[in-house]
Every structure is written in C-alpha cells, then in structure tokens.
C-alpha cells in the first residue's frame, strides 16, 4: 500500500480536488496536502491524495545521469 504513482493533473475542481490522469484512467484526488498545483503538473498520488509535486527538471537530471552511466560502462 506504499505504492504511489506520478500522475498528471488535468483539471482543478472545487474544495481542493483535482482530476488526474493515471495511465489513461481519470480519477478525482485531493490536493489538500500540496500547494500551488497547476493543470499540467505531475503529482505523486497515494491513497487518493497528492503527496507532493514532481520536479521535472530533477527527473531529467536523474535520467541523464543514468544514461551517462550506461554509456561510460559500455565503452571497452
């Protein structure tokens, strides 16, 4: 039950709720635990609540690092 997934906010609703897209499935979740969320943002969804926003820049940095590792070790 610790499993939580990143999902994109596609609509803001009243009383601090939002609709997110979870692999094509639309689901209403609560934004009560986060601040300044806008449509288009990715949030980590867990038991119906957004726990935090996901930082796309940091995600890119991490992926770039992974890719770099793959290349440097692939060399003889």
């Amino acid at each position: 039950m610790c499993l939580a997934i990143p999902a994109q906010v596609i609509e803001l609703r009243e009383s601090d709720n939002a609709v997110v897209d979870l692999a094509g499935v639309r689901k209403e979740i609560s934004l009560a635990l986060v601040e300044d969320v806008a449509v288009g943002d990715y949030v980590i969804v867990h038991v119906g609540y957004a726990l935090n926003k996901l930082d796309p820049e940091e995600a890119e940095k991490t992926l770039a690092l992974f890719a770099e590792l793959g290349e440097s070790t692939a060399l003889p």
Binding site: C2, S30, I44, V47, A67
Partner: protein
C-alpha cells in the same frame, strides 16, 4: 507512463549494473537494508538482486505497513465490528492480516461484520456523512504517507460536526523503526546482521524530507540514500551506497530529488502536528514495543478517537509460533528460513503478516522469486 517507464528501462539497468560491478570492491561484502516494502517489491519484481554482484546483498526491512501491524490492533478493529456493530472502513491490504482465533477482517466480514474497503480516508468520511445512523470507524494504518490523509479526514469530520465518525489510529513512524533496527542486539552487539547502509524510503521521504535520516548517518555512521520506487532508482541508490562505503563516508544522499527535498512537505507535516501527538509506546509486530514510535489523536480531537469513544483496551497477542515474520522484519532471517513458507503459508492463506501485502518480504518472495535466492 511518463516518469515510470523511463525508470524501468532494461538497457539502462544493464548500464547501472555494470557500474555497480565496477565499483563494488571484490575484496569486501556489502549489506544494505531497503527499509521500505515498496523497495522490497521493486527488487523482487524486477529481479534487481540478479543484476547485483554476489558480494552485494540486500536485506529486507520492516517498512511494510501491514507487516508491522500487531495482532492486537487487528483484534481491536474486529471487536469494533463484531461486538460494537460499527461500520469499519480500512485500506484493502488490512483485510487479510491474520488476527486472533483464526480471524481476519475479511473473515469477520463473512461472519456478519460491516467491514468495508476504502481507497481513501475521504471515502470513510463520506460514508459517515451518508449514514448518520451508523458509527463509522476508519482503521488508520501506515507510515508517514498515510498519516496526513488521516489528519485531513479528521479535520473534515470536525468541520462537518460529524458525531458518528472516529479513527482507530495505528500510524507509525519510520525513524523509530530504523532506530530500533540499529539498536537491536543483532546489529549492535552480535553483528549477526551486518548492515552497511540503508536505501531510504521514497514516498515517506516526500513527506518527512531527508533531514530525519541525518541523525542515523551521524550517530550510527550508516550511509542512507533515499531512492524512488522504480528499479533504476533502487539500483542507482545501491551504487551510491557502495561508493559511500568505499570512500568511508556516512551521509544522507538523495537519489529521489524529483520528489524529495531536505525539508519535505511542510504543509502535510503541519497538518499531522495539528491533529496528532506521540504515543508513549506502541507495539509493532516483530519489533516489540517501541517508545514514542507511533501517533495518537490530540486531546482537541479526542471525540474522533475510536479508542476513547468505544473504551477499547489493547491486548497484546503473540504471533503464530512457527511464523518467522518478527525475525524477517529485523533482517535476521529470510522468508525461506520459515518452515511454513510456501506450504502452509501462502498469499491466499497467510499465516503471518509478511505474506499478506505484495510489499511484505514473504509475499514478494513467493510471488516473484520463490525458487531463487532473493
């Protein structure tokens, strides 16, 4: 799916695995504990252990919410449903946790208890709103990820003036569990559980931040690397741990920077602090009674505390004699060391709590790697 698939790429995994093999020194062994059940699940499901060199070993930790829930707490929930006739709401994973007298919440439901699975704490509040004639109790379990949602639900119930909603609060704290592992005789005195560092929780850390682990790095000289739940995250964290060990460092590093900061989610922390306070002591399955390791409702919210409302007492109950969950949760034993593993005890018919959720060591091992030495 974005932010998921890229972190599961098999080709990239090979690259990180190669980097790990290059950096792990052949003349020493590395033992790392993944604290979280989510990591246990990822490691088993994606066969991460198979990609690691033989001298790098992962030890499963106690960070699986249903695994550490003691029988006495499930019994309380069952008593509420069967004896007090309440509508008991809980997360799906709790339903099959073995309790006393061969019961579980699922079996209590079959006996006529009004027990319902909810996806979110808000569903329990909505149910109470819809059925003012019923007493609705939310059986709230979990680490720091599920605690803020429970706090929101309690505040909602208060704002709505609901007289028929309460919470059986079993929320527990990650740092307490890590401390109890580090203080255990197996780690401290006997050295039977060698521990060179921790893969720190992903989503728990989105809430509490990376700061609480600094104490463990400083005080116990154990490196901690916070990692996301995808297999590449876990592998990269392992590589970072190996590097720290090699360089003689013990620091908190954050592989999951896309979602975790040092401070964590302050809004969620504030909500939790407003509604909950520390319990003096709480019994964990496998780790015994740990002081100040769990939360209860503050006095201002006492009317929503199911233990108060229904005058519930807590009766500790020992686990099944042959079940090794306790030792497994402390990293002392592996699932296959248990005589009941895969024969008497299976995910369909769990004897111990580690076989219930897919994050439990026994269930993960049974489902994804029964015949392998994970």
């Amino acid at each position: 799916m974005k932010y998921i698939d890229e972190f599961r790429d098999g080709e990239v995994a090979k690259g990180i695995a190669a980097a790990i093999r290059q950096e792990a020194r052949p003349d020493r062994r590395y033992h790392f504990m993944e604290f979280c059940g989510g990591h246990t699940h990822a490691i088993s499901r994606y066969g991460v252990s198979d990609l690691l060199p033989e001298n790098v070993r992962m030890i499963h930790g106690p960070g699986c919410p249903v695994c550490v829930l003691p029988i006495g707490r499930v019994d309380q929930a069952i008593r509420l449903a069967l004896e007090q006739g309440v509508t008991l709401c809980t997360y799906g994973d709790c339903l099959r946790v073995p309790a006393s007298e061969h019961l579980s919440l699922l079996k209590a439901k079959a006996k006529g208890g009004d027990i319902r699975m909810v996806y979110s704490s808000a569903d329990a509040v909505a149910l109470a709103q819809k059925h003012p004639e019923k007493q609705v109790v939310f059986f709230a379990i979990g680490f720091e990820t599920t605690t803020p949602p429970t706090a929101v639900a309690i505040k909602q119930a208060k704002a709505l003036g609901l007289a028929n909603f309460s919470v059986l609060c079993c929320h527990v704290l990650t740092p307490s569990a890590i401390a109890s592992i580090l203080e255990s005789p197996e780690v401290r005195q006997w050295g039977t559980v060698p521990l060179d560092g921790f893969v720190g929780p992903a989503h728990v850390s989105t809430i509490i931040g990376s700061r609480p682990y600094e104490f463990f790095a400083e005080e116990y000289r154990k490196p901690v690397v916070i990692a996301g739940f995808e297999p590449l995250d876990v592998m990269q964290a392992i590589r970072m741990l190996i590097r720290q060990v090699n360089e003689g460092r013990a620091e908190v590093e954050n592989e999951f920077a896309r979602a975790v900061s040092r401070e964590g989610n302050l809004k969620a922390q504030q909500l939790v602090a407003e509604v909950f306070e520390l319990r003096k002591a709480f019994e964990w399955r496998g780790l015994n009674v740990i002081p100040y390791s769990a939360l209860k409702l503050r006095r201002e919210f006492a009317e929503f505390d199911a233990e108060e409302r229904f005058a519930l007492d807590y009766r500790p109950v020992p686990d099944h004699k042959a079940c090794e969950c306790g030792a497994i949760l402390r990293g002392v034993k592996k699932p296959q060391d248990c005589k009941l593993f895969g024969t008497v005890c299976t995910p369909e018919n769990p004897i111990g709590s580690c076989m219930v959720s897919s994050e439990g060591a026994c269930a993960a091992h049974y489902t994804y790697g029964r015949y392998k030495d994970v």
